[in-house]
Symmetry: C2
Subunit: 283 residues, 2 copies
């Protein structure tokens, strides 16, 4: 890996935000809302998205490449704003790759803060996880919950059609509603005591209104953007050595492995603002 | 490119069949049925599939990498069994890359034979094309039809949810039928004189029974496997210099950029037989 010189004494770093596609922009949106003074670099591996149905080996390889790219741009801290990458690659990167590549840098995922939110919010101690096939099969939510909240019952449901529904804006019709209802019903049939549900894929907040329509009123529905933002603020308070090298000019940069014009058009829908992107090659 | 020695005087070559994912197996299936004595190498870029919504640049880059891999395995002839790759990459590869890389080798696509079938089968001279966003946007079917059958009316419909419906086996339910009917209705509303429709994505034959249910009886529905097989047999008859270097032991090899076990499990559904695959890296 090219080990960039940041943090040098005279330079400050952006916080890296990685996602396989566009969904991580829903997390970035909350980061910007809650931490507007910080600089962020978003990297979307759109030319190889979606990751949700790919194997462990492929997801790990692609995620590590992205983390190395963000490190080479000087990021001291990288958020994997993607549940599939967090579920399948984060632990190996933290335990095996970071000590070798960049022992002073940090990579954080979205699963740990999500699990903490589930634990804090559920009264019945029966919670539900809606995610991609990759996230569900990894059992990362089950393992993290078992560690932190061993007395909770966690039930998962994989929703493989939901990302295509979001990316093609096909969720506000009868066909879209069929697939949304199908997975909500399936999850709740598995455990009728669930009182808290997490949208464990960063695409799913776009479906929130439709999902809410099929949920009983007593079930809380939580998405990850705000949770991750709160957790990052807390993390930087506890790690002033990292916070002090974070640049705070409110600058945003966007990189994509896809064509710039495609990315700019689709990303503006997720982020609700106009943006300029740059191309980046991953291999 | 590593220029492999095949065809050497003492070696014979397999025919390469490339697809971004699993859909090309529906074409390979017909090739095996019609030409059981030939050897084939199938290469699926499953770790980066689907290509249907990607940009021109990305599809071209990925397709060229795959063609080079198949050449390096000695293939003298490569079939792009993928409409998106045929639409967006074939012409550039044929005109710009082949003369430089391998002037004696050939790369063929699925669009030209499909267009010839439409021209031969339609009585009304009004035909329809159902494809991915990439295939439709490329306008390759419109351009090829205009060259060969300038008096035909060609109407296209992009069906971006159909590949996820196939890959997740979600087409035999109310939600799947909604999206199948939606695009059939939309296409026929654009031109009520259509009498012949082509499934211009190699995933779509899996949906044939469901599609047929929403079509008036007088409309012919054609898929590409048989067409491509007929065309290849014809091509080899007209090019004995290529046919004579084709190995004819009936051997099949499968390569995937994804995990072998994932590929073997999913591929057996498309090909309706058990198979053994090998991993290949693309970069």
């Amino acid at each position: 890996m090219k080990n960039s010189s940041c943090p040098a004494s005279n330079s400050k770093c952006s916080i890296g935000v990685f996602d396989s596609g566009y969904g991580g922009l829903t997390v970035l949106d909350e980061l910007i809302n809650n931490m507007p003074e910080y600089d962020f670099i978003y990297l979307g591996d759109n030319a190889r998205a979606p990751y949700g149905t790919r194997s462990f080996d492929v997801i790990y390889e692609y995620t590590l490449q992205a983390v190395e790219k963000l490190f080479s741009m000087g990021c001291q801290l990288v958020i994997l704003a993607c549940n599939t990458a967090s579920a399948k690659a984060l632990r190996t990167i933290q335990q095996r790759d970071l000590p070798r590549l960049a022992p002073n840098r940090r990579v954080l995922g979205v699963i740990r803060p999500s699990v903490e939110a589930l634990g804090a919010l559920s009264q019945s101690k029966h919670v539900g996880v809606l995610g991609t096939v990759g996230t569900v099969r990894s059992e990362s939510y089950l393992m993290e919950m078992a560690k932190l909240y061993p007395d909770f019952i966690v039930t998962q449901e994989a929703c493989p059609t939901w990302v295509p529904l979001v990316e093609n804006r096909e969720f506000e019709n009868e066909g879209g509603r069929y697939f949304i209802k199908k997975h909500i019903d399936s999850l709740l049939a598995k455990d009728r005591q669930i009182d808290t549900l997490i949208l464990a894929c960063t695409h799913y907040p776009i479906l929130k209104t439709e999902i809410r329509n099929f949920l009983p009123d007593n079930i809380q529905l939580i998405s990850q953007g705000q949770i991750v933002a709160n957790r990052l603020i807390d993390y930087l308070e506890r790690h002033p050595e990292i916070d002090k090298v974070c640049s705070k000019k409110g600058e945003l940069k966007f990189y994509t492995t896809e064509s710039i014009s495609d990315f700019e058009e689709k990303a503006s829908v997720f982020l609700n603002r106009k943006l300029k992107a740059q191309h980046i090659a991953m291999n």
